[in-house]
């Protein structure tokens, strides 16, 4: 792919003015956006089943995956604006930069339907639970919410930054704090914890491959930490503020994942969590212990707002990165590079919306699609791992090739951190080929073929086709011009 670098005799880019946005985000807002992209309480009941071992299941991936991702993206964003596409383009090559941001973008297309289906089922829980299994209802909710999200995103970064930040505060931080406080009250009253909290329960049950799958797949719980770096030029002083933002986000993500899950495990026995067969039912069981079951619909609304806030950050981030590299290198047709009056990549969002709508309608209305939808989740997480592989290699190369490039933050022992991150990403990719529960008794090789085929098509073939089809005349911004808002 490196051979496809832009030739020197490219025609001059079109003189389409690119709006230069003034600083619009504070580092705290960016930290909240990052946290909203990655963490929510949705997973708390699932992980509470593991009891004290959920700490291990979150901490180990945090050490080997979250920490490298956060530190490396803090260093890169404090030196180069533009996010992952720019880091990989500078460190490896521009086509690989495109590949990185494509993989980040493509992954989200399959994420929205499952996220919004969760929102639809939570709304159903609030108004009428029988709606949850109604395909038409789910399809309508997904469509309305998704296109509202596209519309809000097209109003500019400020609109979505505010909504996603408040979504996190109202939908995750407040109910998360309530869960933890109630959990501590439960223990403070002298009640024994429902899940044993002794040293022998610190590690998860070891059953060989199943446990390995559980631990390694949990690495991906932290995926997306680097995504909001694309907004780094919206900070007043990116070099100093982005690392601060990243460290705050890292702390918040860990607290949000670990403490509420632990609190639920103190109060609701694991077997009763299994009995609830749903996220909101688990919250209901928790609140009912305190005779405040009426808080369940409130928690449901909060979770809905957090999910929608998180969706907004994903709508804005990868599509912006895709736009940036496509404008400078002509990787996408000019139609897709068009900006609206708020400087937002409206046509990319709408095109993505059409594709997502088709997938979402299939998910909601066609049983054969919904019953295998989990496979898409696996494939897209495999595709996303390509981003991390490229990012860690690019970080090491940039330290070597451009050691004196000004960086607001230098990660300690970068080589070691990148190696750990790289190995973790490779391990997660490898484990992604192990069939999970859902695949049942099917052939392992057919599973490997499905996931591998999806990985190749979505993660390599489609971006390669874009690179092959690009035209020099599609460039609408100067590739060699200094990038707006270089961080340091």
């Amino acid at each position: 792919m490196a051979s496809m670098d832009v030739p020197a005799d490219l025609p001059k880019p079109r003189a389409e003015a690119r709006p230069v946005a003034p600083p619009t985000l504070t580092w705290v807002t960016l930290a909240l956006m990052t946290t909203a992209s990655v963490a929510s309480l949705r997973a708390a009941p699932t992980m509470a089943v593991y009891g004290l071992a959920c700490v291990f299941l979150y901490l180990v991936p945090a050490i080997v995956f979250l920490l490298p991702t956060a530190l490396v993206s803090a260093e890169l964003a404090s030196g180069w604006s533009g996010g992952v596409y720019r880091w990989v383009a500078e460190g490896l090559s521009k086509p690989l930069g495109f590949l990185a941001v494509w993989c980040q973008f493509a992954m989200t297309i399959f994420y929205y339907p499952s996220l919004l289906a969760f929102v639809a089922s939570t709304i159903a829980f609030v108004i009428d639970p029988s709606l949850a299994s109604n395909g038409l209802y789910t399809a309508i909710v997904i469509m309305v919410l998704y296109w509202t999200g596209v519309w809000v995103s097209s109003r500019g970064t400020k609109a979505l930054a505010g909504l996603s930040s408040w979504g996190l505060i109202i939908g995750t931080l407040v109910p998360g704090t309530v869960l933890v406080v109630l959990g501590m009250v439960f223990l403070g009253q002298g009640n024994p914890s429902a899940a044993p909290m002794d040293a022998s329960h610190l590690l998860p049950q070891w059953t060989g491959l199943a446990s390995l799958v559980l631990i390694v797949n949990n690495f991906l719980s932290y995926s997306g930490m680097e995504m909001n770096a694309v907004h780094v030029s919206s900070l007043k002083n990116p070099a100093k503020e982005y690392p601060k933002s990243m460290f705050l986000a890292m702390g918040l993500v860990l607290l949000i994942f670990i403490l509420p899950a632990l609190a639920i495990s103190w109060v609701v026995p694991a077997d009763q969590l299994s009995l609830t067969a749903g996220v909101m039912q688990a919250f209901d069981a928790f609140f009912s212990y305190f005779n405040v079951g009426w808080m369940t619909p409130i928690a449901a609304i909060m979770l809905i707002s957090a999910s929608l806030g998180g969706m907004l950050t994903w709508l804005a981030g990868p599509s912006k990165g895709l736009l940036e590299i496509s404008r400078s290198e002509g990787y996408l047709p000019p139609f897709l590079q068009k900006l609206n009056k708020f400087g937002i990549q409206q046509n990319i969002l709408v095109t993505q919306g059409i594709v997502t709508s088709v997938i979402a309608l299939g998910y909601a209305l066609i049983p054969n699609v919904s019953s295998v939808y989990w496979i898409f989740s696996t494939i897209t997480t495999q595709v996303y791992l390509i981003v991390y592989l490229l990012m860690f290699v690019a970080a090491m190369r940039l330290r070597k090739l451009k050691p004196d490039h000004p960086r607001g933050y230098r990660a300690p022992a970068l080589g070691l951190i990148c190696t750990v991150g790289l190995l973790s990403s490779l391990a997660a990719m490898f484990i992604g080929f192990v069939p999970p529960s859902q695949f049942g008794s099917g052939s392992v090789w057919s599973y490997i073929l499905i996931v591998g085929g999806g990985l190749v098509i979505l993660g390599l073939l489609i971006p390669w086709t874009f690179l092959k089809m690009r035209k020099p005349s599609w460039r609408t911004a100067a590739a060699d011009a200094p990038h707006e808002g270089d961080a340091a």
Binding site: G135, T138, I169, P204, Q205, A210, S221, W294, S437
Partner: protein
Amino acid sequence: MSPTRFASEHKWIYWGAIVILVGLLVTGLIRYSAFKRTDETADKAQQLSQDLVKAGYPAPDQETVERLLGTDGGQVCEAPGNALKEALYRIQQLSTGTGGPGNRPVIADTKAVEVERIVLQVYCPDQVDDFDDAIDDLKTDDTVRR
């Protein structure tokens, strides 16, 4: 903090979101408070408790079970073999602990599936076959330390 400033600039988007969420909240609270415990909910919960204990599980809280499952099993019995519900179950409940897009299926804990089957046997025995068909091929393991 800046979100406050943003609120003033995009006031009507915020108000729209607030109105919708408050509307849902009021609906949810009304629906939640409308639930009444009856002799029938108590009998069913009692039967479930006995069956769970017989199968080696601890007895759940009676009132919680009554509210969660009512007389008809609530959402658990709502077409358990339904592809959409099953899809959500497989994506959300049999996966890793993520809130973002990195959600991945795992090899789930065996008891998680067994308990749901006992619930169906008590509240909607006619659905057990559909459920068995839906999860027939589910490969599980004892991944939770008890």
